[in-house]
Symmetry: D2
C-alpha cells in the first residue's frame, strides 16, 4: 500500500545526467526521471543544472509537480548536466534547508550533491568538523559529505580522488550523484545498501536510483554501480575508481519487497518477479483453503498474484483504491463514521461476499491499517480472512535509510504472530520466512541486508547515545 497509510518510508531518489558533445536539454530529462522516482521521496525535491560551468538549483518542500511549476521550469536555465533528488525525510529533516541537491561552493568551485542513505558515523563526523571551526546550515548528511569532499579536495589531485578518499571516512549507506562545473560523479557505499544504476542514451550518460527512471527518458540500462565504486563522467568519457575500504555486499532487501517500483530491475532481478516469487513462497509455506486471493493495493498485488498462481486459488480484485488520494486530503473533524482507510479503499463486495479470502500485503508496521482492512472485508461479507505478508516480521531498527521512528512503532517487535493475528482480527496470519529472502531476486549475485528482520547488521550500528541522524533542531545549550 501507499505512503498515505501506515507504511515504511524510503529515504530518497537520486538522478544525474551528462549529455554528450555539449548538447543541452537536461531539464525535461531530470523532470521526467524524478517523476518516475517520486515514490522514493515525497517530502521535497530539487534539480540542479550546469550551465557552462555555472550551477543553478531549484528545490523546495513538496512533490515534483508542486515544486516544478510551469513558471519555475520556464525560468530554469538549460545545460548539459543536471543532478536531481527527491527526499522522504524524517521529522527532523522535513524542512526546506535539508532539501537536495545541496549546492555549495568550496576551494575548487561549486558542487551540487545528492544522496540516498544514512551515515552511521554522522555524529562523529559532525563533532570533528565542528572542532575545526565548521558551521552547519542543515542537519543533513549531504552537508557532512560535502565538507569531507571539500577538505579532501585540498590534498587530492581531482574531485573524484577526493570523493574516494572521503568515502574512507564515511560509514553506513549512501548512494551519491554529484556534479562539479565539469564532471558528473556517482558513488555507492562499500556495502551497496541502496541501489544506483547507470544508463545510456545516444552517448548521454545517466545515473539513477532505479531503472524505471531510465525507461522514463528513453535510456537503456547499462549496469549497476558497484559497491564502493566511484564513476566519473567528463569530456574524457567515463572512468571509474574504487574506494579502498571493502565491505560485504548488503543490498536492502526491502527494495525488492516494497520500496522499488515493480517495473525496475535491480542488480539484474525484476522487482515485479521478486514480489510474485515472494507470493509463491508464501503459498508454499502458509497454504490455506480459500476461494479467492486478493492483494492490498498497490504493493500487495504482485505477491497476491504469485500466491494465487502457486496455490491455484483464483485471483480477484478485492479493493478499489480512490485514485484521487493525495497529500492535500483534509480529514474533516467529524470522522468517526468514515475512517481514513475507508476513504482510500473500498471493498468490492461481488469479489469477497460469502468467500474465504486470502489477503496479501507486503509488510506490517503498526498493524492499525491491517486491522481496518480486515474489517472492511468482513463488512463486505467475507466469511474468512487469511492474511499473508510477503516479508518476515519487521522487528529491529534500520540504520541505513528506512525510517521507522522507533522500535516501539513495530507491532512485530512486541507481539508474537498469534497475537498480531488476533489484534488485526484475521482468521490466520503468515509471514514470509527469512530464509526465502535471498531467493526472491533470483537473478542477483549481491548479498542482502536483512537487519530489520534479524537484528544482524552488516555494519556496526551507531551506539545508543548517538543516533545516526542528528534529529535535534539547530541548537543546543552549550553556549
Amino acid at each position: 500500500m501507499e505512503e498515505v497509510f501506515d507504511k515504511l518510508h524510503e529515504e530518497c531518489g537520486v538522478f544525474g545526467i551528462y549529455r554528450k558533445n555539449g548538447k543541452t536539454g537536461v531539464i525535461p530529462d531530470a523532470y521526467h526521471a524524478m517523476y518516475a522516482l517520486q515514490h522514493r521521496g515525497q517530502e521535497s525535491c530539487g534539480i540542479a543544472v550546469n550551465t557552462d560551468g555555472v550551477l543553478h538549483c531549484h528545490k523546495d518542500v513538496g512533490l515534483l509537480t508542486d515544486v516544478f511549476t510551469k513558471e519555475v521550469l520556464e525560468k530554469l536555465p538549460e545545460g548539459r548536466m543536471a543532478v536531481a533528488h527527491c527526499l522522504y525525510g524524517t521529522k527532523a529533516t522535513k524542512n526546506r534547508d535539508n532539501a537536495q541537491p545541496m549546492l555549495v561552493n568550496y576551494r575548487k568551485g561549486a558542487l551540487a550533491l545528492c544522496n540516498n542513505g544514512v551515515l552511521t558515523n554522522a555524529h562523529q563526523l559532525r563533532e570533528e568538523l565542528a572542532d575545526g571551526g565548521a558551521i552547519f546550515h542543515t542537519t543533513s548528511d549531504a552537508e557532512l559529505i560535502a565538507f569531507l569532499i571539500a577538505q579532501e579536495r585540498l590534498k587530492a589531485d581531482s574531485i573524484e580522488q577526493a570523493v574516494a578518499t572521503a568515502m574512507e571516512r564515511m560509514y553506513g549507506a549512501y548512494s551519491l550523484v554529484m556534479m562539479s562545473p565539469t564532471k558528473l560523479i556517482a558513488a555507492r557505499d562499500p556495502n551497496g545498501f541502496r541501489p544506483l544504476c547507470m544508463g545510456e542514451r545516444d552517448g548521454d550518460i545517466i545515473f539513477a536510483s532505479e531503472s524505471c527512471a531510465l525507461d522514463a527518458i528513453g535510456a537503456s540500462f547499462v549496469r549497476d554501480i558497484r559497491p564502493g565504486e566511484v564513476v566519473v563522467v567528463s569530456e574524457d568519457g567515463v572512468t571509474t575508481l574504487e574506494c579502498s575500504r571493502k565491505a560485504q555486499s548488503a543490498l536492502c532487501v526491502f527494495e525488492f519487497i516494497y520500496f522499488a517500483r515493480p517495473d525496475s530491475i535491480i542488480e539484474g532481478s525484476s522487482v515485479h518477479m521478486a514480489r510474485r516469487r515472494a507470493g509463491a513462497f508464501l503459498a508454499l509455506e502458509h497454504p490455506v483453503q480459500a476461494d479467492v486471493v486478493i492483494g492490498v493495493p498497490d504493493s500487495g498485488l504482485d505477491a497476491a498474484m504469485g500466491y494465487a498462481q502457486q496455490s491455484g486459488i483464483p485471483y480477484g480484485i478485492g479493493f478499489i483504491k480512490n485514485k484521487y488520494i493525495g497529500r492535500t486530503f483534509i480529514q474533516p473533524t467529524q470522522t468517526e463514521r468514515a475512517n481514513s482507510v475507508r476513504i482510500k479503499l473500498n471493498a468490492v463486495r461481488s469479489t469477497v461476499e460469502g468467500k474465504r479470502v486470502v489477503l496479501v500485503d507486503d509488510s506490517i508496521v503498526r498493524g492499525t491499517t491491517s486491522a481496518h482492512i480486515v474489517s472492511l472485508l468482513r463488512e463486505a461479507g467475507a466469511k474468512e480472512v487469511h492474511m499473508r505478508m510477503s516479508s518476515p516480521p519487521f522487528r529491529h531498527m534500520c540504520y541505513f535509510g528506512t525510517d521507522i521512528g522507533s522500535v516501539d512503532n513495530l507491532i512485530a517487535a512486541k507481539h508474537s504472530v498469534e497475537e498480531i493475528c488476533r489484534i488485526i482480527g484475521a482468521d490466520s496470519l503468515g509471514f514470509l520466512n527469512v530464509d526465502y529472502l535471498p531467493m526472491l531476486a533470483d537473478q542477483s549475485h549481491c548479498g542482502f541486508c536483512s537487519g530489520c528482520f534479524t537484528g544482524n547488521y552488516p555494519v556496526e550500528p551507531p551506539c545508543e547515545c548517538h543516533q545516526p541522524r542528528c534529529e535535534r533542531p539547530l541548537s543546543q545549550s552549550k553556549e
Copy 2:
C-alpha cells in the same frame, strides 16, 4: 484508462443528504462522498449546506481537495442538509460560473440544485425563457431547470409538484439532487439515462450518483431512484411522486463499461462483475493463441481478468502506472524523447518480453493512446500484441452526457476494424459485439441506451443546428 489519457468523459456526480432529527454534521459526509465520486467530474466541484433554512454554497474550478482546503472547510457553516456536485465540463462549461450546486433565490426562497445530464431541448427552453424577459448568468442546463421550477412553483402547491411539472417540459438526461430551505429532493429523467440511488444511515437519507459514495460514508444502499420519479425528504419523512410523462428505460451502458467505479452497484448489478463478463464475452468471440493477458490500467484490468479466466491464458501485470499522475504535470517542451504515455505508463518487461500478449482496454476514442501503448509493449519485447476492446466501436454522437466533442474525433466513425488495427499497430483487434451489452449487467432489469454504438437513440436528438448545449460564449450579434 484514466481521464489524463484520450478518454471519454462523464458529465457529473451528484449527492445529497438529509439528517434525521435536526442532527448536523453534513459537511464531512458531503466531502467524503464527493471524494468517492470525483471520478465522475474533475473540472469543478461544490457543496451547498442548509443551516436552519439558510443556504450557503462554496464551489470553484478544481478537484475537491483543491477547492475544499482546510481553510474553506473551517469557514463553511454546518447544517442538517447538504447537496454537492462535481462536474467534468465541456470546453464551454469549463468556468467557475457553471460550477454547481447552482444556488438561486426565487419567489419561494432559495434553491440549491445539482444536475448530472444534458437536456436535448435546452435551446428551445432558453429561447422560451428569454422571450419572457429572462436573463442568464450561465450556459448551464441547471440554470434552465431552476427557471422552470421557479415558474412552475408560482402555480404548484409544493416544490416537489413544481419539479414534477417542470420535468414534463424537460427532454434528455438529468439526475437531479436539490435542496430548498426545508426539503431535499431527488429526481431522475423518465428514461433514466444516468444512475441515481438512495441510501440510509441511522435514519439519515442520502442520494448519490453511485453506491460507492454510500460506502464512503458508512451508509447502506436502499434502492435506485426510478426513471421519472421525484423523491422528497422532509420533516414528514420520505415521499415520492412521478412525472406524468413516461419513456423507455435507457441507462447509459458506458456507466458499466467505463464511467462508474467498479465497486459500485448500479440497478442491482456489480460494475466490476459486468466488466469481467465483458472480458469473458470478448474471449469467447475473439479468441487468440497467446501467453499472457494484460489490461490497460486501470479501467481495462477487470475485463482483462475476465478474458484471462475465460480463455485460460495467464493474467499478468503488463504496465505500472505512475501513481503521482495529476493535473498539474508539466510537459516540458523538449518531449520528443519522452512521450506523455510513457510518463504515465511503463511496461513491465519481465511480464511481456518474448510473449504473445493479449492487451485489453475498455474503449477506443481517437486511437492515439492505443498506438502508443502497443508500441510500449513492442519496445519491451512483446512478440505479438492482440488488442481487445470491452465495448463495441464508438461511432455516433452522444446527446445524453458523454462528451466526445465531435464525431470527427472517433476513429471508429471513420475507419473499419481492420484499418484501426493497422493504425494502432496491433497484430489483431477485436471489439465486444453490441448484442452482448444487455447481458453485462446480468442482475439489472432496466433497458440500456447504446446510441453511441448503433445510432439509435431512445429520445429524439436535437436537430443539427441546435446542439444540445449552448457552447457559445455569453454573447451573440443580435443587438
Copy 3:
C-alpha cells in the same frame, strides 16, 4: 485617512472605453484606469472586454493587482470595448457572486453592466420580478437593473431606449456603464448622486467615475454625464437621450470631502481645492492659538494646509504613515502594547514636541481612531491638541451608497460635540458648518445631497422594514 482605519466607505468605481475605428488594446486602459479608481472599492474588481461582439469577463474578490495577475492578463482576449468595475461592498455583498461587471445573456444577446450606487426601491423591484418567475443569483442591484433592461428591451427599439425606460422604474443612486455586443452606454440617475464623467483620446470615448482615471490613460476630460442622461457610443458616434423622470440635482458632498481623489475634477471643481477651502472655512469658524497645523494622513492633509494658510499657523508633518499598509497585515494576538493605529501611523516628535497642535481630519465615524491619534500626539510631547473636522457631524443614515452599517456606529448621532471632544481626549473640537458645504466646490453648478448631516434626503428613503439592500443570505423560510 485610509480605508484600513475606521472610515466611511464608498461603494464603487466604474469605467468604460470604446475605441475608434475598431482599434483594440482596451485591456491595458481598463487596467490602468481601474488602478486609478481603486480607492473607490477594494473588495472585488473585474473587467469585461468585447471581442468582435463576444463578451468575456474576469472578476474576483481582491484588489486589482491581486485579481489581474500577469497570467490572467495574458489570457484575456483583446477587444475594442471594455467596461470595468471595483466594489467596496457591504458585508452582504462581500462575495464573488456580487463582483461586477455583471455579464448576462438575454433575448438580444449579451450585456455587461457596472453600477455605482444603491437603489432605494430594490426590495420592491425584487418582489415584482420574483412574482414573474425570476430567479436571482446575487443580491446585487446590478442584477435587478439587468432584469429591468432585459424586460424593457422586449418592447423598446434599442438597448439605449430600454435603459431609459428602465430608469423610470429605478429610484436612488446609480451611475451605470454597460456594454452590449455593439454599444457602450453610460447612464446616471436623475439626482446625479454619484459622479460619472466622459473623456476622449484620439477619438476613443471613455467613461469613468472620476477624472483621475482619464489622466491615468492619457485621455482628456470632456464633460460630466448629466443627471438622468443616457449616453450611447457606437459605430454611429456618440448620441444622448434623457430619462423622462426629472429630479433635483444632489451630488454626494462626501465625494469632495473624502471619497474622490484630490487630483480629480468633479462637476468642474478641483477636489484638492475643495478640501483646502474646507480647511480655510474651518480656520475662520474655529480659530485657535497654536504653533503648528498637522493633518491626519492622507485625507486630512489638504484641509490642514488650507487651515494653516488661512490661520497663518505653520503647516507641519505630524505623522509618518507606514507605506506598506495593506490588506494582508496580520495582527498577531499579543497586541496590547502595539495598537493598530500605532502600526500604521507614527508621530514625528520633532514636529509636535512641546507644541500646541491643530490636528485636521476629514470626518469622524466611531471616534476610536481619533482617540488613538490624539493619544499618539500626547505621547510624542504635544502640549495641546485641537481637533478640527473638515465636514459637519455625520448623524444620519445614507441610502445612496455610503456604507455606515448602522446609525449606532456614528458617534455624532449619540453625542454632542463637547462629549465627543472629551471622548477623543482633545483640548478642543470643531466641525465644519453645514452652511459652508455648497461653497466648497466653488466651480460647480450642481446641487448637493447632505442628508447624512441633516437628515433631509432628496429622494424618499426606503421604509424601515425594507432596507435598501437585501442583506439576507440567499434564502428565506417560505418554502
Copy 4:
C-alpha cells in the same frame, strides 16, 4: 520617492529583542518592528525565535506581510528572544538562500545572525576560509561573519569575546544583531557606517536599525550603539565591550537624506528635521522666483517644505501618489500611452496650472524619472519648472551598502549640472552643496561618510578586481 522608481537602495534592517525574566511573546514585537523597518529592505525577510535555548527561524523572499502569513505566524513557536531582518538585496543576493537571519550550528551550538552592511574584505575572507576547507551555502557576508565567529569561539572565553575578535578581521560596514541560545548581541563596525540603536520597554532590551521600530512596539529610545561596540544581553543584564580596532566615525549621510524614515532619530538628530534643513539650505543656495514649491512624494516632501519656509514661496501639493502601488503591479504590454510614472503619480492641475513651480526631490540617479516628472508638470500647465535636489550630485561608487550597480548608472558621473538640467527638461536645476552635509544632522556629534559625492572614503575600498560582494553565482571554472 519610492523604491518602485529609479532610486537608491539601502541594504537591510535588523532587529533583536530580549525579554526580561523569561517572559515570552516576542513574535508580535518582531513582526511589528520589522513592519516599521520594511522600507530598509523589501526583497526578503525573516524572524528567528529562541524557545528555551532552541532556535527556530522562518524566512523567505517577499515582503513581511507576504512571508509571515497568518498560517506561518500561528506555527512559529514563542520565546523570550528573537532577531529579525529585512533585506533589499542586489541582483546577486536576491534569492532565498541569502535571506536572513542566518541560522547555523557550530561547536558551541546555534547562532542566528542578522547583518546590515557590506564587508570590503569579503573576497579575502572567503579565500582564507576556503583554503581551510570551508564550504559556502550562500554569497552572503553574514555566512562569512558566522564562520569567523565560529572559529574565534574555539579560542575565546565567550561568544561576545569571539565577536569582538572576529571584528578585528572584518573591514567595511556592518551592523549586527545576533542570538545564541542564551544571549542577544548587537555590534557595529568601528566606522559606524549604518545606524543601530538600543531601546527599552519594561526591562526588555531591544536593538533596531532605526528608532521608528522602537516606537512601533512601544519601547523608548536608550542610545545608539557606538562604532566598534559589542553589546551583550543575558540573564546577567546588559554588558558592553569594544573591538580593539579603532576607526574614524563615518555614518552614511544618505541615511538622513533618503534611507531612514523621517520619524526616526539617528545619532540624536531628527531625520525629518534634517531634510527640512536640507531644503532650507537649498533655498539659500539656489533661490528662484516662483509661485509654488512642491515635493516629489514621498521623500521630497520634507525638503520642499523646508525650501518653502525658507524662501517664503507657498508650499503646495503637486502630485497625488497612487496609494495602491505595490510590487505586483503588472505593466500590460501596450503602455506607450500610460508610462509607469504616470500610473504612480498624477499632477494636481489646480496647484500647478499657470504657475512657476519649484520641484524638490532628494536625489537623482539615472535621471529618467526626473524627466518624466518634469513632463507631467508641464502637461498639467506649469509655466516653469525649477528642480532642486536636497543632496549633492551622486558621482561615485558606494562600497558600504548603497547599491547602485555601476557608476555608469549615475547621470551625475557623466554629465555636468547644466547637461542634466537639459536632459530632464527643467528650467533650472540646483543641488545641495556638499559643505552643508555635516550641518543637516545638527544634533549629531558623529562624522559622516560622503564618499559617493566626493570619492573620498573613510576605509580603503576593495581593489577593482575584487568587488566587495561576490556577485557570481555559486560556481567557478576551477574544477
